[in-house]
Symmetry: D2
Subunit: 378 residues, 4 copies
């Protein structure tokens, strides 16, 4: 009977999106227990946040070096087994390196490091260990990208001949056109974000999605990037021509000035027998196109999906996973009420809603049974 | 600094969908800690399941009466504060009644009870207490149904004049046409499921969604149900004409023989100034129609949404909440690897994916900077 | 070699939508030639309109009685063979009656007449003739409604068990809430429009679409209509419960106060083996749902469609029929230029657009052939 | 009062799609009358086709030189005024040249010619004439591409900073992988189709759509094309990086091996204040995105559209232009019946459908008026 894995967290405190995402994800399958953390470089804030989420504070450390030292003093069966690195990019490398060197498994946000050379160093260390290292290219976890991978692997679309991936966002648009904003945004500062903004932050997701779904390796690239202003050192848009071995070609389109786009990651893979298309903003639909049959739309949870896809599906067909969050909102509303905090009508359905429901059900059956006549609700 | 609320769970063991849904939802906002449970009427199974999800077994009880008795012996600051009832419908009433009578808050699956009379009894007990009682009409927790409610309340569509709600599923289709299956399905047994199958199970969700979003009460109903076979005692399809006070009218359409439909809950509310439409299978889109302006599509997380909607949104625009689950699938893959269990390629992105990513980013910038030429990846 | 059929037109002059629709439709397959007409009850307007569309005026008559009398004097091989009736509803009956009695075929807008009794009289006359009588339930002419009919006939979805048809418009919303407007709209005047506004104008289309696609007859109805105001004598909204022979049931939902809806006709037919769904506002998509296979989307022009569907398709897959109109707009722009009328940039692509195109094509191939380098357009 | 313009047609006989498209389009606005033609290089076939569409054969000529010579002999008020050129590409140049030199207006299919040099020659001739020359980039005729152009011109999305156009088809996929088919397809023969297949046939439409909607000129291109097989001389896929003056950049993606794609032309234009997106396969929807307001969906026929868009709209909102064709199919069915040709049930709605309709309408009102009870249809 498996015990929960002991998880440490570096970064991701406060209302950090990435912090929430990793915490929730680690709880969903009952596999992990958070036992230690450095949520913030400011130790007081770190402690404060631990209390907010009701975590014991004795293993909230002041920095990652301390975390490693102190945890190594604990008996192995109590010690953190794996650490999630959720810090700004430039810290990934030193943290991951020291964790691996001291025998900790690592779950690391992307990009892995800020340079290829650093990445190779980590790979070398890992290769000489028995440790697990996961990079959170989150979109590969969707049931339908997994299904896409398995269908391509099984030959459904034949030999890949064209690939088109897009990752369009518009969030930097109001920043880039404002001189003071663009000089004070860390994503646009090479010191903090590495050599690329658009390609490093999101183009690389499109790249990864191509290699994940097709199982192919991209052999070469030709890129045209856009910086828009001369005083801006970082690409905020670009198109990359790509070539695979064989005659397959393709394109990666990526932008942070695609005004109004939210998180427009999509991929289309065309083979000689068919094609598969997927969009992140409607992640539960996978489209299969062929030369001469009706378009087919695959959805999660159906028995026709592959094992890899079904293993990643916890809900029956027709239930978007957002329902976890919808239910969580109701639990949140109830928690406020239980704690006697202020809450508003609509935050959770009450007894009265339940009573109305029974009134409806009985009235409905009554109306039918007496020959389709009107029945008043009480 | 709030401590987590101590949660007990009745039902929902094994691979019960509703069990997973409530467990995940209770963890998402760091508000609840599961401390006790009766997961199954078979105590051994209950214990076994607790071990599977790495829960201490000392507060896994043999039945709900024992749970209540034993928890009452504990000091108040250790005792279960609230119980979630996830059992079959006919157990909701006795469990909820006893919990309320002994001072426990309750979170109860719908339908609240199997009869209106039982529901009224519970309401009476609650009215004479200071307890919290939530009925999990989950769909009211979506950011965009909350936004719909707030927009109607604020007058965006004017006075409601027509309402159309649908809840179409097809799951009972292969059962209803098979005589032996339809006689052995508990949902079709009035003893276990109450007087209605289709209206009781899903029609009531459509009903609740109407009252939740419009803030109006349905005054009377006229129903035509369908049983398809003479030896079937339970409705598996039906249409309900509805009337509100004033001249507003509408319809609730509900079916479990809408072959091929998955979880097709949707609602359209038409006012004299505009209309709002929402569909559960694409829950992040809310449509505003007016007489003479372009159709507007509202999405979660934007500042233009109401507080009630934004409070229920944890992710930035463009991120479907399914991303929690996608990330969870990656954590699951990593957990298998950390535990040295068997896993397959594709279950989580590895160091190698991270290294490839850096290779891509650097090659892309390199290609651009040297005048848009081809660069080979290593 | 067939000669074109000689067509007469009653009504539909000026910028009448229905007039444009019938004129264009009659030309599309090179089968009809318009030879005579009464476009308007005002003879001068009728003549003026004939000149506008460059039709000889010698067979533009002052009323339908004159048309019939004069045409009968012509030799049979010159005489109008068929008349299209595009007038207000109450004129359908006398016109159709007299045409049939004098040996003319008829193409008649719906509703056929204003009362069932009149309709039966026409049917009797027709039954004792060899004439052709078409009622223009236009939506049955779409390739995908025809495909739907043929698939149901061939057993694709098994035995029909539930039908849901909708026809929602919002156009009467700004009228109905304005006392003076609602008292001066002919559609709301029983003298001119018959006993029903919403059911008579659009509900009947939904009804027809059900019988057309399913091949079944509706046996009985139960209706709840809405008039909204006491001084309004005509239904402007309603829901109709329907029953077929056997245990199949369904619903027709129809409204003219569904604010913001444009022409929302849709139909879903659920059988015991599958379901088919179609929407008028996206008429080129037909959805096939089953218990356990991916959703399939049928589109016009593919070889997998039935003969009835393919016979009604003139364009290859992916070309919406709106392309006829797009091309017509370009011809219109060119006509203005040819006639030396005023026109604006953008009304048709010019020589310059053609030259730019060649410049693009050659530059593109040039760029590729010289190793993917930049080429300036001239 | 304008007389119809006298139109001649070169090419487009038999069941040529492009022939049908131009014939229908020329009739739609009552502006043109076809008076002469060379439908086919085989004169007998040309005559035969003229008879099929019931056109007088005295002005069906054996070739375009004869057409020009003979028409010049006719008095000016009878003579063809404008000729549509619908032949294979390599004939566009000689035909257009001679027509212009002899004073005929020209409507020419794209690509204008097979080389840029030829195109420049035509342009020179035209510049020294008073003639009209239209190139049928059909997609610029859609109401919503016109609306897009006008909105960009009026500043709705601010300064253009990124453009992405796609034209994906899959039709050449089954041909390109079959050695004998690919060597016998004229589109893949440079002698007949010019220097490019994919860019020349469809890439150029995407190019034109960019310049049409943005009002900008593309300054330079960098292309990577795909030929897939060494024995194939013509590109069947490619991606083109594009640059405008200023810092705006973009991409044109075009393919004929995008397996399963039908006619996937789409365009997205991103400005610093907003973005506009349009797709040919759903041509009645234009999407406006901004940084912080709900997505807006524009549709044809609404008063909020520009004059250029409204001038190209003949139908009220919610009516796809395919309704012209749906109605034409009913006229076709009636024509078969009138001519006593064989036709099948479903080809047009009959008297019986009309009678059923009245029966429905009256029963519905009856049911409502007697208190929502069941009424049997007769």
């Amino acid at each position: 009977m498996p015990k929960k894995i002991r998880l440490g967290i570096l970064g991701g405190g406060g209302d950090s999106l990435i912090g929430i995402l990793h915490r929730v994800a680690s709880q969903i399958n009952d596999n992990y227990e958070i036992v230690g953390a450095v949520f913030n470089q400011n130790h007081d804030k770190s402690i404060k946040f631990a209390k907010e989420i009701d975590l014991p504070t004795n293993r909230i450390y002041k920095d990652y070096n301390t975390l490693i030292e102190e945890e190594l003093k604990l008996p192995k069966e109590e010690r953190i087994q794996v650490c999630s690195i959720l810090t700004p990019n430039f810290l990934h490398f030193p943290m991951a390196k020291k964790l691996l060197e001291n025998g900790f498994h690592v779950i690391c946000e992307k990009p892995l490091t800020t340079t290829y050379d650093e990445a190779k160093i980590l790979q070398n260390i890992l290769d000489n260990s028995n440790l697990v290292f996961a990079v959170t290219h989150t979109y590969t976890g969707y049931p339908m990208t997994r299904q896409m991978r398995e269908m391509i692997k099984s030959g459904t679309i034949g030999k890949v001949q064209k690939v088109d991936a897009q990752y369009y966002q518009g969030w930097i648009n109001p920043i880039i056109h404002d001189k003071s904003k663009r000089s004070s945004t860390w994503r646009l500062d090479p010191e903090k974000a590495g050599i690329s903004c658009c390609m490093g932050d999101i183009g690389v997701h499109a790249f990864n999605m191509i290699e994940f779904t097709t199982g192919l390796q991209i052999k070469s690239v030709l890129a045209d990037l856009n910086y828009l202003y001369e005083d801006n050192a970082m690409d905020i848009d670009g198109t990359v021509l790509i070539r695979f071995n064989s005659n397959a070609k393709g394109v990666i389109r990526s932008s942070q000035i695609a005004t109004g786009e939210e998180n427009g990651l999509s991929i289309a893979v065309y083979g000689d027998k068919g094609a598969l298309k997927w969009e992140q903003e409607n992640p539960n639909f996978l489209y299969l196109l062929t030369d001469n049959k009706p378009l087919q739309v695959y959805k999660p949870g159906h028995a026709y999906n592959s094992k890899l896809s079904l293993d990643g599906t916890k809900l029956p067909p027709g239930h978007p996973e957002g329902i976890f969050d919808a239910m969580a909102n109701i639990y949140l509303g109830a928690a406020k009420a239980i704690r006697n905090e202020k809450y508003n009508s609509g935050e959770f359905p009450t007894m009265n809603d339940g009573v109305r429901g029974l009134n409806f059900i009985e009235s409905t059956v009554h109306s039918h049974k007496q020959g389709n006549t009107w029945v008043n609700l009480k």
